[in-house]
Symmetry: C2
Subunit: 141 residues, 2 copies
């Protein structure tokens, strides 16, 4: 376990691309790391963990502003966790709504694809359904 990690090292280990790491630093999600004599960033295990935290949160769909709050909470563990819990709950609701919406779209796409008779476009269901919303059986949108 190296103690001085280059930006490439942390990129490999965290799965976050090098330019994205620099971008996170630029927007203040990551602190400015120390530099070598040759002006290169170097990181320690703490920096790597912070980046892994960010990556995981991004994968879960949290916005950067939410991650900013979560990181601040992590930095001050004397705070009650109601805030973190609230952010997670809000995200859960978003995800549930997005799933419901996508399920409806899936059903609609399936009908379109299913009914396409592979003939001429004149009777193609894909075009037809898109052209006339009334032809789709769902009222979700």
């Amino acid at each position: 376990m190296k103690s001085e990690l280059t930006i490439g090292d942390v990129a490999r280990e965290s799965g976050v691309k090098v330019p994205t790491i620099r971008y996170y630093e630029q927007i203040g999600l990551l602190p400015e790391p120390p530099r070598t004599d040759g002006n290169r960033r170097f990181y320690d295990q703490k920096g790597l963990r912070r980046l892994a935290f960010i990556r995981h949160a991004r994968e879960l769909g949290f916005e950067v502003s939410a991650i900013r709050t979560l990181l601040a909470l992590q930095d001050d563990p004397t705070q009650p966790c109601a805030t973190a819990d609230g952010i997670a709950k809000a995200r859960l609701i978003e995800v549930e709504q997005r799933i419901a919406s996508l399920m409806a779209l899936k059903a609609e796409l399936e009908v379109m694809v299913e009914e396409c008779r592979h003939g001429r476009l004149a009777e193609c269901r894909v075009i037809e359904v898109l052209a006339d919303h009334g032809k789709c059986m769902h009222d979700h949108h």
Copy 2:
């Protein structure tokens, strides 16, 4: 049924906002409509249908480039519909993958929220799970 519709009329009837309609025109999704003496755009039922088509396709998550192709196909209905069918099928696969991914995230978020004991952050599951990906039971990401 008016035959000369202002941009505001088609916005109301299609549910697409006025600046978005102008944007669609700018990127070539909509043809440049004729203008009144006072330089205002006016539309007919055909223009409104084209906009409704675009809106529905966007709601189904099709990208603008895909919609461009679908519109071209619609304009030339002698073409086989295999292309339209392919676009819809590709989108269906995307949607299915997105649903699967969101279901996994939902499960993970539920565990996080469920296990949060509403105590101090020191033992908050939300922060903890985010900080250590190994603590989450899914290997989807």
